[in-house]
Amino acid sequence: MPRRNDAHKTSDARLRRTQQFSQRCGRRGEPPPHIRRQSRFEAVKTLKRRASTPLPYTATFKDHLTNPRNVGELPNPTVVAEETNPVCGDRLRLSLIIKNNQIEVAKYLAYGCPPTLVSGSVLTEMIIGRSASEAANLTSAELIEAVGGLPGRKHHAASLAIEALRACLSSI
């Protein structure tokens, strides 16, 4: 009987395969080299291809869309900031009343696609009652989770809301 080839089971071989795989895939969190080499044209094509899939909106999302919370502007806010996404034109205006480092009241206005409208609503609920320093540490990933998840091509909506929040807090 021919001798079985057990070379693949050695730790050296396993390490070599792992290294080859890592080289193909890039470091964790980074796109692999063949993707990083994509031209802007190819990257836009990838974005368009992903954009053609339909959007799954959760119950939380639909609730905030039809019943947005904290809509409006404050007559005498502590701080107001407005951020605009230069690519798609989405806009979010956030006004806050902050006393003793606590965000007591938050109101928002938003223009843009539904994820932008919803992100503002969910964000204001998340930050009311929090300290300003605590709110400053909120990330778009946390906001996306609170919204109930968003498709990749709509993550910009959560980023826009967080940018508006940070613009507010950085000015006090």
Partner: protein
């Protein structure tokens, strides 16, 4: 159609009796579709829809005539399927002149005349725009081409995308003077996935689907008999009811627009008020974004489409609305309402109520109509 799926299941290319029954059904459908546009039966090619018809027309013609010239004239408001195939040809060395439209969304015949060159082989202008419904001067362009041919510019052809217009307004390919015409089944209440391309007798195109003898060797592949039968029936009914349908949907559309303009401020009606299809209404709502409005209308049972970038899946707002000279905000805030043969006055009144409520809600939410307060 059901009969084609069960009893009449033969392959039209087969010689046996089952196949010949299917062949007869396809021929009957072809006669009906041809009658809808005033064409001869053998001038029709069944395809999978409007997109394939546009691809076959433009690519098929250009590949056949490229030795005579490589310049194409089109408009800035064509359907994405036409824009896409022209962009592909540009990458292969073709030149494309994209004519602007007026603020009412109509191509000017003077611009077509000015853009003509000795090496122009194709003019592709849609018969009616799918977003704003404006009807283009295809008959005038056809006359212009006839003049050009008489003056010696013989290698010049006219294609028109009639997907949105077929079954809505009377069409006759001889009156239009077109050499190629695309139409799609689902705009005629036939199933999705079926369409037809009219190719005037004597015009040569290269098939894009090859490897079979179907459709006179211009579009290989076993025919989608059930869908073709359905398209034929839909074409027959459309031809019989076209006048009645046109009057009725125009009345509903006009009622809708009158109510909208009466009850909602800061709206812009897009497209010429007269030279347009009877069933479409395209309106831009200031200060709000189209997809947000669409998603607010959908749960209420009102289904519309929008020219906003977010919804289209591209990074740009509707190029059609932009071509009218409007800014990005109006393009993003545009909604297309389409009225069909089964809509009623009650549907229109309900849609207006739902729309008013949604617009009020979104405008309350919008920062665009509120100045940014200065913080103390």
């Amino acid at each position: 159609m059901s009969r084609s799926l069960t009893a009449n299941f033969g392959n039209p290319s087969s010689v046996h009796s089952f196949g010949q029954q299917a062949r007869a059904a396809v021929d009957r459908a072809r006669r009906e579709v041809a009658a809808l546009i005033g064409a001869r039966q053998n001038e029709l090619i069944f395809v999978s829809g409007g997109t394939e018809a546009n691809n076959l027309a433009i690519r098929g013609l250009c590949e056949a005539v490229q030795d005579h010239g490589q310049h194409i004239i089109t408009s800035t408001i064509e359907h994405p399927s036409v824009r896409g195939v022209l962009e592909t040809l540009e990458k292969r060395g073709w030149e494309v002149s994209r004519l602007p439209v007026s603020e009412k969304g109509i191509v000017k015949i003077e611009d077509v005349r000015s853009a003509l060159r000795p090496d122009t082989v194709l003019i592709s202008v849609m018969l009616a725009n799918n977003e704003i419904g404006t009807i283009q001067p295809i008959t005038e362009i056809g006359n212009l081409i006839r003049e050009q041919r008489q003056e010696g510019h013989k290698n010049l052809w006219l294609h028109t995308d009639a997907v949105q217009a077929a079954g809505r307004i009377q069409l006759n390919v001889d009156e239009l003077g077109c050499d190629l015409l695309s139409l799609s089944g689902h705009k005629l209440y036939a199933p999705k996935g079926i369409g037809a391309l009219y190719v005037r007798r004597g015009v040569r195109i290269f098939g894009q689907n090859v490897g079979g003898h179907q459709e006179r060797e211009r579009r290989a592949g076993t025919e989608n008999v059930p869908a073709i039968v359905a398209l034929g029936e839909a074409a027959r009914i459309a031809r019989e009811e076209i006048e009645q349908r046109s009057i009725e949907v125009r009345r509903l559309r006009d009622r809708f627009e009158a109510e909208v303009t009466r009850r909602i401020n800061d709206v812009v009606m897009n497209g010429d008020r007269d030279l347009r299809l009877p069933h479409l209404s395209n309106i831009s709502f200031r200060y709000i974004e189209g997809e947000g409005l669409l998603i607010n209308l959908d749960p209420q049972g009102v289904a519309v489409s929008t020219g906003s970038a977010c919804s289209s899946g591209t990074l740009e707002p509707s190029p059609v609305i932009r071509a009218l000279g409007h800014n990005d905000e109006l393009a993003r805030g545009s909604i297309r309402f389409s009225f069909g043969k089964d809509n009623t006055e009650e549907d229109v009144d309900y849609a207006v109520e739902v729309l008013v409520a949604a617009v009020v809600r979104l405008r309350e939410l919008s920062p665009l109509n509120k100045t940014l307060a200065q913080v103390r």
